[in-house]
């Protein structure tokens, strides 16, 4: 997937003009957060669970190597294979090799953000293998040559008309705008794919060390068909998804469903523990897990370690007013919203990713809903520190900050400056810029503000000036009486 993060501002601007997108985002805002609130309300111990989730994840990250090794040996004992991929390219290569070994022509895929991260679909296609997305949202995106704009509702940016057009073009059926008919069409089209696929690729929400199992959760059941029908099942997932026990997994499943969609539990929770054993009714003959690092092990022990607690629930983006205004595509790469603003610069470099951690008011809503209590604003601030110390902060901002800091560190000078500016702004408010309205409708060099709103003018002398006058007056009164 192309990296468009440096164009965040321009893409955001387009997104703000896009009426369809704005409507879709409005629906999202009213949907998930509302359902989450109800689910949380119903569960008084939710906050205690969040603490448990945070602590457990911290423990896992402290012992990541141990749990990964345990996971690997269990998978092997179960008859499966674990592959370690340092980079995204490594992961793609490993998967291509497996596909070629079994002479695969088509592979069905369950939803996987990690495979978006590595650009797996393009890679397979370039090498003559046809990947077919089976999650309805992902399927629609694939038909349109589009990418997810949300981590659990990938096609949230599209409306019914977009879907209907895409289906009409690819299914060669009469155009319909009935959701049930469209769903049926997709089902029929996908059914054929499920049957002929040589390989099924899924992601994994968690990897369980004690049993060597991977689990995927879906609301459509497509994941089950993807991983049980083909002869070969490949799981592509990332190293921080490992959890010690099945019981630990259930803790995260409870946090995940409530935070994501407000469900008590996701509809399908499917565990895979290796290939089909003798006497098993179904299941693949070969089972592979590709564990992707792609920069994550560098985060362990760094100031960004806490980000590895993320369980990809999407609560942060569902509640983020910036995501809610501009949508996921504006972020320009795989992971959108607050979690993406921390993760993306790690993966594409702060040089390209700096727009994201800056696109936050630090309102803190994301942190307040995150089920594993990731301090997202703090981590975004760390990126800004990184940006600042590498001298990447835009010159104008740097100089502005520099001159402000010069004054802010010198109280006497600072007072003279505030005095002058408040006087200057007041003059301006009374000039043609303001038209005696008590506000300024445009200020030279402050177009960013006054393009969209008035700038209230200062009341009068600064507080410090007036306070001083008041104190002096009180003193004179005291002396004369």
């Amino acid at each position: 997937m192309d990296i468009n993060t440096p164009f965040f501002k321009a893409r955001a601007s387009e997104a703000l003009q896009d009426a369809n997108l704005q409507q879709a985002l409005g629906n999202l805002k009213q949907g998930f957060p509302h359902k989450r609130a109800i689910a949380v309300e119903r569960m008084p111990e939710f906050d205690a669970l969040r603490d448990q989730g945070r602590d457990l994840k911290n423990h896992i990250l402290e012992h990541l190597d141990l749990y990964l090794e345990q996971f690997e040996s269990r998978v092997t004992e179960n008859g499966g294979h674990v592959h370690w991929a340092r980079t995204g390219e490594d992961a793609n290569q490993i998967i291509l090799d497996i596909c070629q070994q079994v002479n695969a022509k088509t592979v069905t895929k369950g939803k996987s953000m990690v495979s978006e991260e590595t650009g797996l679909n393009d890679y397979l296609e370039k090498n003559g293998i046809q990947p077919v997305e089976t999650d309805l949202g992902e399927y629609i995106l694939q038909l349109r040559g589009d990418h997810p704009s949300h981590i659990i509702a990938p096609a949230i940016h599209l409306n019914l008309e977009d879907v209907s057009e895409a289906f009409h073009e690819h299914h060669h059926k009469p155009k319909s705008d009935d959701p049930v008919t469209l769903m049926q069409e997709a089902r029929e089209a996908l059914r054929e794919k499920f049957v002929v696929a040589d390989v099924g690729i899924t992601g994994a929400n968690f990897c369980v060390a004690e049993t060597g199992s991977t689990i995927i959760v879906t609301n459509e059941g497509n994941g089950d068909l993807t991983q049980t029908l083909p002869k070969t099942h490949i799981v592509i997932t990332s190293i921080e998804k490992v959890v010690p026990t099945l019981e630990d997994m259930t803790l995260f499943l409870r946090l995940l469903a409530r935070s994501a969609t407000g469900q008590e539990f996701t509809v399908y929770n499917t565990l895979s523990s290796g290939p089909r054993r003798e006497g098993d009714q179904d299941g693949p003959d070969n089972f592979h897990v590709v564990l992707v690092d792609n920069g994550r092990s560098e985060m362990v022990g760094s100031q960004f370690q806490e980000m590895l607690r993320c369980i990809r629930c999407s609560a942060c983006m569902n509640h983020c007013p910036v995501y809610g205004a501009v949508g996921g595509h504006s972020y320009g790469w795989v992971y959108p919203g607050p979690m993406g603003s921390v993760l993306t610069p790690k993966m594409i470099g702060i040089e390209k990713g700096a727009a994201l951690p800056n696109a936050s008011t630090f309102c803190g809503k994301c942190e307040s809903v995150c089920p594993v209590r990731i301090p997202l604003p703090k981590l975004m601030r760390h990126w800004r520190e990184d940006e600042f110390s590498k001298h990447l902060t835009p010159k104008a901002a740097r100089y502005g900050l520099g001159s402000w800091a010069f004054l802010a560190k010198r109280p006497t000078l600072y007072k003279q400056f505030t005095r002058l500016s408040s006087w200057g702004l007041k003059l301006l408010a009374n000039s043609p810029f303001g038209g005696k309205k008590g506000t300024l409708e445009s200020i030279p060099l402050a177009g960013g503000w006054t393009d969209f709103r008035n700038m209230p003018a200062p009341q009068g002398d600064t507080f410090m000036q007036q306070w001083k006058q008041r104190q002096n007056a009180a003193q004179t009164d005291g002396e004369s009486s």
């Binding site: 955001a12 703000l16 007013p321 910036v322 205004a325 800056n358 696109a359 936050s360 008011t361 630090f362 309102c363 803190g364 809503k365 942190e367 307040s368 601030r381 800004r384 520190e385 990184d386 940006e387 600042f388 110390s389 902060t393 901002a397 900050l401 402000w404 800091a405 802010a408 560190k409 109280p411 006087w423 005696k436 309205k437 008590g438 506000t439 409708e441 960013g448 503000w449 393009d451 969209f452 709103r453 008035n454 700038m455 209230p456 003018a457 200062p458 009341q459 009068g460 002398d461 600064t462 507080f463 410090m464 000036q465 007036q466 306070w467 006058q469 008041r470 104190q471 007056a473 009180a474």
Partner: protein, 307 residues
Amino acid sequence: MSQQHTPQTASPNVGLFITCLADMFRPSIGFATVKLLEQTGCRVSVPEQQTCCGQPAYNTGDRRTSAEIARMTIDAFAGYEYLVAPSGSCVGMIKYYPELFDAEDPYQQQAQALADRSYEITSFLFDVIGIEALQQQLQQLTIPRTVTYHDSCSGLRQLGIKQQPRELLKQINGLQIEEMTEAETCCGFGGTFCVKYPEISNRMVSNKSEFINGSGADTLVGGDLGCLLNMAGKLQRLGKDNPDTLVEARHVVEILADMLDTPGIGEQDVRRLQAASSSADLSADLSADFALGTELKSSAAQSETTR
């Protein structure tokens, strides 16, 4: 959540942190804060060595400058039992001070001590002083207004301020609180955010304006001037053609201190207009401002200037 302190003395020695925006744009917020503190028996001083809390540097990633400013503020407020500011955002910044120093740095402990005794004004009045101290004064007020309260982000999520301003406002006769939809959603100000990403900020403040207008309130109240300037500026831009229905924006202390003789945030000053129209001269205009300033100097003149 803000922890509760019990004042050590009957008349606590409070240092007022004025905040740079209130200092420049709306001194009446400072005077209202002083009035409220004095009404509850506090001794109020305004340390001269203060400038800004350092948030612009901190949020731009310039830790060194924020630490330097923090050191200055720590020194300026060293001798006060409390630091009180009419802004959750600036107090929120002061709560970050301990993070700016290494454990060995002597300022680390002082930073923690200052953070522990720093309060946003409504939280100070409600959580530290206790509503009883102010109840009588508030209950004597009659302010026939319908207000809607915007919960600013740092105050709400960092300091746990939600109930305090509302409980205080509820004491006033004739004052109704109408909650807007999404009172807790960010208004899009975010300090430098609104300048870095004006279009996104505009969308956020436009949504907010809709909620404010939809609440049916005649007055928008909040505890942070930054957010209030943002929302007032947008409300005025939107209400350009229909000034009669414009919702007036005010800092909560102006209401609690019954200092409503000044125009709402960003509204035209009638007195200044009158002065200006009589002479059409800018100097008259400015002297009218000066007169307004002198008027504000009326209350509680016994406070010391600085230490």
